[in-house]
Symmetry: C2
Subunit: 432 residues, 2 copies
C-alpha cells in the first residue's frame, strides 16, 4: 500500500506531477478516466469489502444513520461512481481554450489560454464517492490533487485511491497526480503550504468549511452557510408565490440552496401567509415569525435574532414581514450567506433592482432557490458551490479548476523599440 | 477632514456603499470620474502644497532619493494623474457583461453576468499617484476601496482622498466608496476582516507583498518576486537571441518583468555567450555564471544557489548552461516566480513545449519578457500583475476587479417538477 511519505514529500511529488499534467492531451486524460472506471468495476468486490469494514466500525462507534448512509458503497453506488467518471471523460477539455487574442503589433500575437491551476487540496467529510468525483474532475482539468477523506471512510478511501493511482500511472498520468492523506496533522500542514498548494476545496459541514477558511491563506473554493431567502413582493402572483415558497423549503430541506427565511411584503402578507401556512402545515414545517407575522399566523413561535442567522437544514422556517423591497434587500444583505436569493414578483423593475442589489452568487426571479446547482445549471459536473467573491462563484463546474496563462508569440520583438524617441506604436488589434 | 472612525466602522460603511455601487449606471460612474479629474485640477495648488510638506519631511528623515522621486507631485504629475482618470472613464464598463446564457428549460433562462466584487483593500508604499489610479479603477468597476498609502505621503494622500470622496459624493457615488486608513494597526485589522473585505491589492516591495500574503486569508491580487528567465535554445537565431537577452536585462532593469537569469543551451553557448557578453559589457552589466559559463566567459564571478533565487532589480545577471530544454524548464519551475518566462528558438515544437510546461503567468516565444505589462497587453489600465494561480493572472486590467453572479429568470418554475417520477427534463440550450 502507500509508503509512508511525509506531507512535504507528497506535496513536492504532486507539484512535480502538475508540471507534466499541464502538457497532457485531452485524449490521454480521457483514456485514464475510462481506465479508472474499468478498474473500479473490476475491483468492485474489494471496494465493497473495504467499505463493509468502515460501515461495521462506524456502527460500533455509534455514528449516526445519516452518516452511515453517506458512507455506504453497494453495487448501485459502484455503478453510479462508474457512470460519473465516464461522464467526466465525455466533457469538453477545459484547457487550451483561447479566452482572448490580441495582435499587439504585426507579428506579435498575445493569446490568453486556459490551463490547469496546479495542486488542489480536497478535504471531505465522509462520502467516498465524492472523493472519486473530485479526483476525476482534477485529472480531467490537468490538476494534481491531494485528497483527505473522513476517517470513518478510511478503508474505502485507501482502496479507491490505490485503484485510481494505479490506473493513472498505467495510462500516462504522472505519478503523484492523485494522492491520499489521512491525518489531521497532515491537513494542518497542507493548509500552510502556499508554495505547493494553489487551491483548497473543502466539502462538509458549515463548521468544517469555516475552520478551513479561517486557517489558511491558500484560496478556498466552497461555501459554509447556505442561508437563502425568498422575498414575496406585493405584486407577486399568488400561485407562483405559493409554489416557490413551498418548493424552496420542502422539496429537499437538508441542502444548502433550500430557503431558511421567507420575507413577505406587508401588502400581500394577509392574503399570502394563511395560504402558505396551510401548505407548510401539511408538510409539518415548523413556522416561526416576527411580531407582524405573529399577528396573522396566531400562535407561532416568535423568531429571534438567532433565527435570522440560522441555517436550519430542516423543516423549520422563519418569516419576516417588510415594508418594501429595500427593507427586504437590507435584511438579505445583512443575514444572507451570499449563496442564493429569490424574488417573486410581476414587477420587472423590482425584480431587476432585487437582482442587482442583492449580494449573492445566484439571484432568481420567479424561480425556486433549489435550482442553484451545477447539474441544473447544465454544467455536467459540479466541483462545488462557491460563495467566495473571486475566481469562481455559485455552482462551479470544471471552469473553476482552470486558470489561464498568456502566451506571447513574436519574431524577436523587444520593448526597446516601443519606447523613447521614434517609439513604434502598438497596434492592439483585438482578434478575439 | 476625516472624522475619527474606527476600522470596523470604515469597513461597514464601505460594505454599505458596495450594495449601492452594484446598481450604478456606467454614466454615473464616468461622470464622477470626470468630476474627480476636474476637482484635482482645481485643487492642484493645495495638492502640490501638501505634497511639498511630505517631501520636506522625507528629506529631513533622510529618505532615499529614489523614494522621494516617487513621492513628488508637481504640475506635470498632476496632468498625468488627470489624464489617467479621464482614460479610465473612457474604458468599457466591466460590469453587466453576459459571460454565458443557458436556457435551462422553456421560459427559464440563466444569465452569468459580471458584477463588482465588493470592498477592495489597497495598500501602497509611497506613490500617491498610484492611490488615485486604483481609486479610479475601483469606482469604474463599482467596488468600494479602502486605501492605505505610505506614511511618507501622508499629507498628499489625505488631501487626494478628501478631494476624491467629495467629488464622488457630489456626483451620486455612495458615501464611503473611497476611504483612507493611515495606521499599521488599521492594516492589521483590515487583513482579518474577511466578512467585509473581499480582496487585498498590495503594491510595493517584495517583502511588503509577502508580508501581506502571509498575514491574511483574504484573497490577494499581486506579486512579490519577479524572477524571470530567458532560455536561448540550441536552434535560436543569433540576432533574436542577442536582442531579446539584451532588452530583457537592460531596457529597464529595476522592474519585475526584467530578466534575472539567462539560460543557454550547451550547443549554442560557445557562439552566443561571448557575443552577448560584449553587449552586456557595453552597458556595465555584472555577469555571474555557473561552472560551464565560467569556462567560456573567463574571470566572471561564480553564480551560487543564492543567485538563482535573487531578483537583482539591477544591472546584474546570472547565467546557466543546460543540456536540453527539459533542464531549462526544470530550473525555471524550481527558481522562477511564475511571473514571465521566455524562450528564443526557431523550433516550434520546443517553443510549444516550453510554453505549456513552464508554470508562469506569461510565457513568450521570441519576444522580450519586458512586454508583460498591462499597457503593452492593450488593457488600457493596469490593476497590477498577479502571480496568483486563481482569479486573475499576469497583467490584470479592470477584468480583475469584477466577478459574476448568476441571474435566473423564470415564470414560477420549481425543482419539484424536475425530480421524481414523471420528472420534466432540462433543455440546457446554450444561447451564449
Amino acid at each position: 500500500m502507500s509508503t509512508l511519505k511525509t506531507m512535504i514529500e507528497k506535496a513536492k511529488i504532486a507539484r512535480e506531477a502538475t508540471l507534466k499534467l499541464a502538457a497532457l492531451k485531452n485524449e490521454v486524460k480521457n483514456k485514464a478516466l475510462v481506465a479508472i472506471a474499468a478498474a473500479i468495476k473490476k475491483n468492485s468486490g474489494r471496494i465493497i469489502g473495504a467499505n463493509e469494514k468502515d460501515v461495521t466500525e462506524s456502527k460500533k462507534a455509534k455514528i449516526s444513520d445519516v452518516l452511515i448512509k453517506r458512507l455506504l458503497i453497494d453495487g448501485d453506488k459502484i455503478s453510479e461512481i462508474i457512470e460519473e467518471i465516464e461522464s467526466v471523460a465525455k466533457l469538453d477539455d477545459p484547457n487550451g481554450k483561447i479566452l482572448s487574442q490580441v495582435e499587439l503589433d504585426r507579428g506579435l500575437m498575445l493569446y490568453q489560454e486556459t490551463c490547469p491551476i496546479g495542486v488542489i487540496g480536497a478535504i471531505f467529510e465522509s462520502r467516498p464517492d465524492a472523493l472519486v468525483q473530485i479526483a476525476a474532475l482534477c485529472i480531467k482539468s490537468g490538476n494534481a490533487v491531494i485528497l483527505k477523506g473522513g476517517s470513518e471512510a478510511k478503508n474505502s478511501n485507501r482502496i479507491l485511491v490505490e485503484i485510481i493511482s494505479d490506473a493513472c500511472e498505467k495510462n500516462g498520468i504522472p505519478k503523484g497526480a492523485v494522492q491520499l492523506i489521512e491525518t489531521r496533522d497532515e491537513v494542518s500542514e497542507m493548509l500552510k503550504m502556499n508554495d505547493f498548494i494553489s487551491m483548497i476545496i473543502p466539502r462538509g459541514s458549515n463548521n468544517f468549511v469555516k475552520y478551513v477558511q479561517q486557517n489558511t491563506s491558500i484560496p478556498v473554493l466552497g461555501h459554509s452557510d447556505g442561508i437563502c431567502h425568498v422575498f414575496i413582493d406585493e405584486s407577486a402572483e399568488m400561485k407562483k408565490a405559493l409554489d416557490i415558497a413551498y418548493d424552496a423549503k420542502c422539496q429537499y430541506p437538508a441542502v444548502c440552496n433550500a430557503m431558511e427565511t421567507l420575507i413577505v411584503h406587508k401588502n400581500i402578507a394577509k392574503k399570502f401567509l394563511p395560504e402558505i401556512a396551510k401548505k407548510y402545515a401539511g408538510s409539518k414545517v415548523e413556522v416561526r415569525g416576527d411580531e407582524e407575522t405573529g399577528k396573522i399566523l396566531k400562535g407561532i413561535k416568535k423568531a429571534t435574532e438567532l433565527d435570522w442567522k440560522t441555517e436550519y437544514n430542516d423543516l423549520v422556517l422563519s418569516i419576516k414581514i417588510v415594508n418594501n423591497l429595500s427593507d427586504a434587500v437590507s435584511h438579505i444583505n445583512k443575514y444572507g450567506s451570499k449563496h442564493t436569493e429569490a424574488i417573486v414578483t410581476e414587477n420587472k423593475k423590482n425584480a431587476e433592482e432585487f437582482m442587482d442589489l442583492v449580494d449573492a452568487a445566484s439571484v432568481m426571479w420567479n424561480a425556486s432557490t433549489r435550482f442553484a446547482d451545477g447539474f441544473r445549471y447544465g454544467k455536467g459536473a459540479e466541483v462545488g458551490i462557491s460563495t467566495s467573491k473571486i475566481h469562481a462563484r455559485g455552482p462551479v463546474g470544471l471552469e473553476g479548476l482552470v486558470i489561464y496563462k498568456y502566451k506571447l508569440v513574436g519574431h524577436g520583438q523587444i520593448v526597446g523599440d516601443y519606447s523613447g524617441k521614434n517609439a513604434k506604436k502598438f497596434l492592439h488589434k483585438k482578434i478575439k
